[in-house]
Symmetry: D2
Subunit: 350 residues, 4 copies
């Protein structure tokens, strides 16, 4: 991450900027003064647009970032002595510095393995039935990430199976939608089909990774869980006074359809990259490329070489695993440059 | 706040949008991809610019909003069983829905009265010496607001006197700078003169009220208090992944000098309004107008009339108190319209 | 509190030891090993005995002390962004070092004045209707202390009036029963008459002040509020592994009737003391003596004199207010000694 | 745990009652009234006795139970965004229902495997060096259990090696001494030799498992970490008003030497049991029996048979693992009865 030449960005979809559709609305929202704290002329419109797009009368809230969105939703779905079941690679477990535990005042995460970064009904059931004494934090919520942290997606059938186990044990279902748009695009599914129609109680839908500067939407399909949630956001430092600068760009994404075309583009770029990588010698894909992330095992010397060439990316699971993430503005030119550098590297290093 | 005609905004400086200087830098920062989580090319520059402007090698952090800035700083300055001494009208006491208590996991606020919204050494000392048993949360921090919640400012002498009492009882000094720029302008003082030179340990400097969409800077002059503070921000959902969209607009404010000219303008507008109000019959100013807020006692029927005419403002301290806040973009035309409506109202209502 | 001769204790009912009835059961419970964590042969019996005594199928939990009992109950009755309405002299506000805020992760206490240490429907309503915006923590619970912190008691009529305002605003009603037994004795009322029959949702019933070493019972008449409460106690460090040493002494109090005779005795001693004090020159009672505490205004020099003579007591509300508390083992001899010292002091000091 | 005949207790050392030496002092402390909140005549004596016994001027605090002792100490040793490194079988991870996370307001536990229930320098180092970004809670404390959760003990050499890695990474060292007395006895070591002399910063020393009804001592050898700790205990519901009923029984244990003879006895009983078990066919010890717990792999049908015969014990690590714990009052007769039942069971079941 300290490139020695001009950096070229494939580390995450959060290295990209604000997409044109979002910027257009941001500028519009700046043309006049407006009421604060979400009482402006944009926030209600954006929330209604979400309800229309999901074809559901859900509760909609906007917060600043993903740590907060997931942590606040989870805090609302249980209490401090409950536990949240998630995949061992779940972002809430590995990359939030204890955020969910902080916002919930102590709820433990119980982790489960699972191929391709996905929770399974069996894995969930094993955690629930392992113990039922009061020394064990009582499982209350299942949190799954769609698309997953390794770039795969849960099919509708997989989601329904998880909902069934949730019903069996009276668990609530939370979806970390950091890349929810990419999942919709990958599965050619509507937002409704991947959420309330399969029993999701609450979704955290990321705008930041989809082309905004900041801003995540939290949608409660189980409206009971949203009781007094606005107070929770306020207390936790997640009520924007100039809320319209989150809501308006979101509306730009939704009204223009960019929320989906951005995701389709990013997914297509990842597919392109994966396809080309698969043909390189000494390179092997680690997971199926279903959304906008590509995970690949590279020789360590190649990793060093790419970093020297300015490429930014994360390593993942050991020294040889590498993650490339495509975004709404990733170009084939950029990917071709990467592939060319890889080929050069592989040649010279062997 | 539900005006029946075109709303006209004097409720708060957070109803204004993004000022041109901030917008220019926001657009610049959007021209290329950049590293996430503050490792971009803007964040360090903005932090350095703060250090230069304050003439001090302080620690600088950026968070999303004021609730978080104040609450996180206070949490870092004490522990859950400590208490924070503040004015009874302090925003952290009256308008944060328990935010400071939430972020600190339970620190109580001990409130003190004081004329013109200002803490006094005597008031602070009374709270500290009231009790010293372990059933009373041990005072650890003094929090004062500069400019205050009623539009007045602490002079340097007043700040030094508060620092003296802080020293006497080993208390830390926090400054809620929601309108810090306005205080600098009002006192014709440098940022240094109103902070570390008078013993302020930490300042929360609001950008939102100064012309940004979002973004507050937390400056620790007492660097020990900033230990591992970046982790605290992260855990609490206050680390922006696209940090440059907070940092760059801040840099725009600082490099252009707009941080101060915006404040000077807002103060001048408030002074203009106060001067004109003072001459209206049946209208009395509640506090000296030293920064950008004007507090005035109005006849209740006039308040209703103004709301019907679309004016947005808060009532304050009883039914008759009203607050008008001027911002970087408030115009004399707007204020003249308000005054004209007041005169009409006063005539017709009597 | 640092007497220079043999201390004589009237500071609080927690300076007394374990009463014989409690000790007898403690010793019994120690005759054999038993299951841990409340699965022993005593805990269920004690809980059932509470249900019988209250004539209600309530949920019963045992915790170590009053800070925890009240704080855990309040945490269960609301969420972090809610507020608790209590009297400005309430123990939870003045003497818990932020305990309720800690256990609830930030719920604010909103305080109300009220003569004789009692909340009034009007005072409660004023706090509820003061604001309804999200910057104000939403009122959710009323907490009252029975007997009050100043030794008075709420009548059934007063409790019913408070329940009416609770119903009007959908608030839950918590009773801090640090001296609940004394209130029952004072009002010649059954436990049922002072709790669920007047709409109390949860009662924290102190055993410590009633003759135990440790141990408070939390009774939820509103059973929904007790959902998973055992987990809450465990997580918060309030599940005793050798629970029988709390439960058995409680059972001793209940089966023997000592819970009430202890209280009656303490009340009678307080009444005796108050009666005698009222006849002393220069001494005036501050509140009606209805339970086991006597509050009296004394000349400061007399206060010093009494301390020198080894008397332990708290001062209260200013330099001249003094609280004497009688307990299950207070004797008339002790009180006569106090009165004699007072008379001597008053004579010699004037 | 629901035996069908008279229960016989080997489930834990918390099924035993109060030992005679503790009871004697409890009764003594009940002979007179005394000051509350630890200002009595016993608490300071007990604390001094700890200092003498550890040959160190440490800070000493008493709390009700082990959940609280460990959680409060850990909360004082770090902040919410720090992490605590512990063994994957550590009680704080597996059996506290999120207590450490609750008291610390979100600190994550990072777990490490290790043979015989022991952390290793390598395991600790792996967790510390794994990542150093702010998305990973910064390691601040190592917590080890002495004796361990599987009945083994850390040697002084092992402790010194862990202290070395703590020094290398600026970590604090916490010792969960739920069975600290048993470790001292097992290693024939003084309390000093196993704590501050090997760099332990804080020890939670259990009295409950050593023969008290309730009560743990927290000893800070690193006194800086104890700053204002009394307030922390108070706020968290761990300040006993009748503190002498914790302190006096502790003093009984310490002055009589029972703290150690109790542990020696329990260890001897465990050694006896282990020796005899090792000779049974179809039975294998799971860990070395070094303290007062015996872990043994039994055929499932034998486990059922023993439960039917009234034996209480926990299963552990899969269906076949069983833990027997000996206490200060365990007798060879009881163990012989167990062994006889086992032999009968093994014969009849095969």
């Amino acid at each position: 991450m300290t490139p020695e030449c001009t950096p070229r960005f494939l580390a995450s979809d959060n290295t990209s900027g604000i997409c044109p559709e979002a910027m257009e609305y941001l500028l519009k929202a700046n043309q006049t003064d407006d009421l604060a704290y979400g009482n402006d002329s944009w926030t209600a419109r954006a929330a209604d647009r979400f309800r229309k797009m999901f074809d559901y009368d859900c509760e909609v809230f906007f917060v600043f970032n993903g740590t907060a969105a997931n942590s606040l939703a989870l805090a609302a779905m249980g209490r401090s002595f409950h536990s949240v079941i998630c995949h061992e690679l779940a972002h809430i477990e590995t990359d939030e510095c204890g955020g969910p535990e902080f916002f919930s005042n102590g709820a433990k995460l119980l982790t489960s393995p699972g191929v391709n970064g996905k929770l399974t009904p069996e894995g969930i059931e094993a955690l629930v039935t392992k113990r039922n004494d009061i020394h064990y934090p009582k499982p209350k919520v299942i949190s799954l990430t769609q698309a997953t942290e390794v770039g795969t997606v849960y099919s509708r059938e997989e989601l329904l199976a998880i909902r069934a186990v949730a019903d069996k044990y009276d668990l609530r279902l939370h979806m970390d939608g950091a890349r929810f748009a990419n999942a919709c695009a990958a599965l050619d599914a509507t937002p409704a089909e991947l959420t309330w129609q399969v029993g999701v109680d609450a979704l955290c839908f990321s705008g930041t990774k989809n082309g905004l500067a900041f801003g995540e939407a939290i949608l409660f399909f189980n409206r009971d869980l949203a009781e007094d949630f606005a107070w929770r956001c306020k207390q936790a430092g997640q009520l924007a006074s100039k809320m319209r600068f989150i809501a308006a760009p979101w509306l730009g994404l939704l009204e223009s359809g960019a929320w989906r075309t951005n995701a389709e583009h990013a997914n297509a770029m990842a597919a392109y990259l994966a396809r080309r990588l698969a043909s390189l010698p000494g390179v092997s894909l680690m997971f199926p490329t279903q959304a906008n992330s590509v995970f690949v095992e590279l020789p360590p010397v190649l990793i060093d070489y790419l970093r020297q060439r300015g490429w930014t990316f994360y390593t993942f699971i050991g020294a040889g695993g590498v993650r490339f993430v495509c975004a709404w503005n990733t170009t084939t030119e950029l990917l071709d440059d990467l592939l060319a550098d890889m080929e050069t590297g592989l040649r010279s290093l062997t």
